[in-house]
Symmetry: C2
Subunit: 194 residues, 2 copies
């Protein structure tokens, strides 16, 4: 029987050597009976020099890859701000609407409100008790890992969330919480365990 | 004939008076023959004091609202970092996978690479010519408005992007680019023009 295919969403594509990192993730997927599919695995036809066209081709290829997978494991580690990478958030929404279980991990264990408060610096309490930033925009305070749409996708789709702490050097490459997601997914899909 | 329903995605929900802002957007939608649907329009059953459960209920309600719409107009104005709000990015992906045209606007006209460079501060050129930040994570350089998945959704779905400049005070509330999206959508859907 074909192994379930896992789309490996995350800012991993921005690493210095994404191909090597993809191999580490794929090896873990294989141990648990899955086939890992990395964003760069798409079949990109030869592209001209137009950067916009190249960006669009990658976008189309990634959407096709997600449609060909049975689940997603997304790296939600905060990326250039208090929240996950927006490309990853987009792909979680895309996968969720396709009916795929969304598993996710973050290598930062602090909750979203704490991270956002630290990021925005100045906060102000509104008369109704809600907290807002210097732009008068409210901070979410639901005790979740990130924006409620992202967490909601994990819960509603039957996925799980794993978090771990990390040093700055291993922030985007630590795989402990990722492996917890793969193990949890293996139970859901009843694939081979190591 | 029922007017096409537009899901109004964006960080608008974090404004001091999101209900009043929703009314302004809905009035513009109506002028162009659409019915505007705001994230807070969901039918939330009475909730207990559990914040996590409330967050999950809002998530479920918003996904239901998107499924009941025929298009999305997303506010992609950068939010707490160089990119759009992640909840908005999630909803764009969700809508795209549901087959909805994704229209989007931003009240910041600078391109993504310029914004990200300013945000991360220190950048470094890799041997292959790509630019990375202090975390050794690459910066996208596709001359797009934001992450390529977000822009790709707009193009592939037949939507349009509109941008404008804004002062800090009107960053999240200026409606010029929003109205351009509504007008462009009216042409696609051939609804009544003003």
């Amino acid at each position: 029987m074909a192994r379930p295919r896992v789309y490996l969403a995350g800012p991993d594509v921005f690493l210095r050597d994404p191909g090597a990192f993809a191999q580490r993730k794929k090896a873990l997927c294989e141990r648990y009976g899955f086939e890992g599919v990395f964003p760069l695995d798409g079949d990109l036809k030869p592209q001209g020099p137009d950067l916009r066209e190249l960006g669009l081709a990658i976008s189309r290829a990634n959407e096709g890859l997600i449609r060909g997978c049975q689940l997603v494991i997304a790296q939600m580690t905060p990326f250039r701000g208090p929240s996950a990478d927006v490309g990853t958030a987009y792909e979680m929404g895309f996968a969720r609407a396709c009916g795929l279980p969304v598993f996710a991990y973050s290598n930062v264990a602090e909750d979203f409100t704490t991270r956002t408060t630290a990021f925005v610096g100045t906060t102000h309490k509104r008369p109704d008790g809600h907290i807002e930033d210097g732009d008068q925009m409210q901070l979410e305070a639901f005790n979740l890992v990130d924006n409620l749409m992202l967490y909601g996708a994990i819960v509603a789709s039957g996925g799980t969330l794993a978090t771990s702490t990390s040093t700055p050097a291993e922030r985007y490459t630590k795989l402990e919480a990722f492996e917890q997601c793969v193990a949890a997914a293996a139970k859901v899909f009843a694939t081979g365990l190591p």
